[in-house]
């Protein structure tokens, strides 16, 4: 019990890898370094998939890239609706980043999403985008008025929702990633061979991708709700 609590504490603690010696030292946490790695992989993949594209006689690589983009765009586009098409690229970026950073734990890195700061900032970005989309679609007056819909008495609940939505987004992602990690550690203690590999398929791969999708799906749903 005690060694487990120590192990969990060590995992929860985000270590600083190094300091940037300006302005009295800026600490660079491990999750940020892994995020840079994830970004590098995604950027290189995107550059490789999209270089020298043609209109006809397309290569297999370009066909694959087009297939991927169309599939993902319809997946998220259905959620945000016709009017929310402009927000699809942002949502897809978050989806790719979250999916890769949830999976990266398999390769022995520390998932950035296991750091509460990362999920909290992503949830903040989501809620700012949702409210900005609402203001853009309805103007400030219409946006303020939308708090009193459908009846005036629910106004406090609607205002509260601005704070509970990012909180639940952030905690859902963080809790899921941390939860699957803790369960995997417990299983590794009891059965160290074979079984962890099978279960890691579910807990790391399936659950990681599913939670990334749920995060983006909910953000899209909120946006659609704000602009309709």
């Amino acid at each position: 019990m005690n060694s487990l609590s120590q192990a969990i504490k060590a995992e929860l603690n985000v270590d600083d890898v190094f300091n940037i010696p300006v302005f009295g030292g800026i600490a660079i946490p491990e999750s940020l370094v892994v995020t840079w790695g994830v970004m590098a992989v995604l950027v290189i993949l995107a550059l490789w998939l999209t270089h020298d594209m043609k209109v006809d006689h397309i290569s297999k690589r370009q066909a694959f890239a087009e297939f991927l983009v169309t599939k993902l765009e319809t997946l998220i586009g259905n959620v945000v609706g016709e009017k929310g098409k402009r927000y699809v690229p942002y949502l897809l970026t978050v989806l790719l980043y979250l999916a890769l950073s949830n999976i990266v734990g398999i390769f022995g890195f520390k998932s950035p999403t296991k750091d509460l700061g990362v999920t909290a900032s992503l949830a903040l970005m989501s809620i700012v985008l949702v409210e900005a989309a609402g203001i853009r679609a309805r103007s400030v007056k219409g946006w303020l008025k939308s708090f009193t819909k459908p009846v005036a008495i629910v106004t406090p609940i609607n205002i509260l929702e601005v704070f509970t939505r990012p909180l639940s987004l952030c905690m859902r992602l963080f809790g899921n990633v941390l939860g699957s990690f803790v369960i995997m550690e417990l299983i590794k203690m009891v059965v160290p061979y074979v079984l962890p590999a099978v279960l890691s398929l579910y807990f790391d791969l399936f659950d990681g991708i599913l939670q990334a999708y749920v995060f983006v799906f909910l953000t899209g749903l909120y946006i659609q709700d704000a602009i309709e």
């Binding site: 609590s5 969990i8 504490k9 929860l12 639940s168 905690m171 859902r172 963080f174 809790g175 899921n176 941390l178 939860g179 803790v182 599913l210 939670q211 999708y213 749920v214 799906f217």
Partner: protein, 71 residues
């Protein structure tokens, strides 16, 4: 006492279990009625389960916080 509190916090998993059970039961009924809509039903079911699971996850996070902060 602290372990007891953590255990109580995980009781929230009860609701998630019931919710996922009901959702799965209804999805099975729907597939039995309309087997051709199976793809759509199962993707909706997985999404709903992921959302219902969130309550259990909140319970788990709170239990973990109780153990780590107080223990």
């Amino acid at each position: 006492m602290i372990a007891l509190g953590a255990g109580l916090a995980v009781l929230g998993a009860l609701g998630a279990g019931i919710g996922i059970g009901i959702a799965t039961g209804k999805a099975t009924e729907a597939v039995a009625r309309q087997p051709e809509a199976q793809g759509k039903i199962s993707s909706t079911l997985i999404l709903g389960c992921a959302l219902a699971e969130a309550t259990a996850i909140y319970g788990f996070v709170i239990a973990l916080l109780i153990i780590l902060m107080l223990g």
